[in-house]
Amino acid sequence: MKILMKPIEMIAWFTNDGIPIPLRYRIVSKDKTNIVVKVGKVVTKDEEKLAGNRMLIYRCESIINNIQKTYEIKYEIETCKWFLYKM
């Protein structure tokens, strides 16, 4: 996987405990078109606090262009921003 760290627009749901679970996101591709990706499965969820900054990392699987892909997305708690971290 390669580090991309691209900001994405996200639809997520939050559990009763306040944990966000990603559902579907939109990313601007190289030719400036929007691509919508449905999160097929969240494989793992971890928290990191590098430099004291809390982020949730999700390893997910989706089918993009008929190919199953594994990738990682990050949620920065302080700013409420989502990123496509690695793919």
Partner: protein, 413 residues
């Protein structure tokens, strides 16, 4: 009494490695710690000095505190990143938060240094130190040095031995081997002026200092001589304090973006410093009996002037008026690059002597408190004096962050 076990935990090139960890978290591929890089102030505002450096930058002979201009001369490929104080506070809090799990006795000595009393810890101290170091590295993404000793001084000396990412011990029986061969300026509280004084009398290493006659040092350097003699022999017995030291003074200073040449501009700078410093003194509920101002001119000479007042003050206007008077007596008309105001001889603000000549005291007090409340609620720039409009001078100056105070270096352990 059982021998104490004190840890001194010191983040390695703190500002730089915190910035590097933050960047890596945000997908940056280059680790600033592995290339010649520094954290520097804003050169346009004439704050262009090196605040922290990476280890590869150190190899070029770059020193903390030197100007970015001379640092670039030493290493043309130098990467300079701006300072981010909010991030540093977050990192520091995260580090203290992690360390609090190991001992309730913890003292924040500065933004990147912590003392921790592990005398009653439930693990072997070496194993505990190793675990702390590894957890900080893994969870927070930066490395620390841990010094272990029987008191705070020796722990601090030990953490300075070899960097980065190391644990060192310095117990009484190791002083002779590990600390005495070091040059005398490495000792805590020995600066470059004392160094030259001591060197002139043949005292070159900490060992030389420790072997001197105590009475001789005492008669030569007075109380300070005794202090450094004690330190050279590893004698120091202060406690790891959870609470902060009582305040002795409050001051703010600023280097102006341009040389100030007129009295009008100088007054504005003093007013904006008075705003900050008076808000701080009211915040801690104190009044000051002494006001000191100091200025540094364009040739880097500094002058200061102070006055003891008949009645203690905390109002912005009183502080401003006093500093204006002091400035008029001090200034000879040369361009100035740095101003500072300091308030000292603090006393409590609830019972203090009033002056029969201060008729507006109560009104002014109310006004100051109201403005403080508005600024705390809506931000520092919510209410500003109109004289600052279009002046090019910020309405409040001094300090790096208004929202949160953080511990700065102190000569007291």
């Amino acid at each position: 009494m059982e021998q104490r076990i004190i840890f001194h935990i010191d983040a390695n090139s703190a500002f730089l490695s915190w910035e590097a960890a933050y960047r890596i978290q945000h997908g940056e591929k280059i680790d600033l710690r592995e290339i010649p890089s520094v954290v520097g102030g804003d050169e346009k505002k004439r704050h262009g000095i090196v605040l922290a450096k990476s280890i590869p930058a150190k190899k070029y002979g770059i020193k903390t505190g030197e100007s970015l201009y001379s640092a670039r001369n030493k290493c043309p490929s130098l990467t300079v990143v701006p300072a981010r104080h909010g991030l540093y506070i977050k990192c520091s809090n995260a580090m203290v938060g992690l360390l609090k799990k190991y001992s309730p006795l913890i003292q924040r000595y500065s933004i990147d240094e912590v003392f921790l009393d592990y005398t009653y810890g439930n693990k072997n101290y070496m194993a505990a130190a190793n675990e702390m170091k590894e957890r900080i590295k893994k969870e927070l993404g930066f490395t620390v040095n841990i010094g272990i000793g029987p008191n705070k001084l020796l722990a601090k000396m030990a953490s300075d031995f070899k960097k980065p990412d190391m644990i060192h011990t310095l117990f009484y029986h190791e002083i002779e081997k590990k600390m005495w061969p070091l040059p005398v300026e490495d000792l805590f509280m020995v600066g470059y002026r004392t160094k030259s004084k001591l060197n002139s009398r043949g005292i070159l290493t900490i060992g030389d200092l420790a072997r001197q006659d105590k009475k001789y040092l005492c008669s030569w350097l007075k109380k300070y001589g005794l202090l450094i003699w004690n330190y050279a022999n590893g004698i120091e017995d202060s406690q790891v304090r959870n609470d902060s030291l009582p305040l002795k003074s409050i001051g703010n200073s600023t280097t102006t973006p341009f040389d100030v040449e007129t009295k009008k501009e100088a007054y504005l700078v003093l007013l904006s410093l008075s705003e900050t410093v008076s808000m701080r003194i009211r915040e801690v509920e104190k009044c000051a009996r002494v006001v000191t101002i100091s200025i540094r001119n364009n040739e880097f000479y500094s002058f200061s002037h102070q006055r003891k007042l008949n009645t203690p003050i905390d109002s912005t206007n009183c502080i401003y008026e006093t500093s204006k008077e002091l400035f008029d007596e001090l200034w000879k008309g040369e361009p100035i690059r740095r101003f500072s105001i300091e308030l000292s001889q603090l006393c409590s603000n609830d019972f203090c002597q009033l002056s029969i000549f201060d008729l507006v005291y109560e009104k002014e007090r109310k006004l100051d408190r109201t403005i403080d409340k508005i600024r705390n609620k809506y931000g520092c720039d919510s209410v500003v004096r109109s004289c600052f409009l279009y002046s090019g001078i910020k309405p409040l100056t001094g300090g790096v962050i208004m929202e949160e105070e953080y511990p700065t270096m102190s000569s007291l352990l």
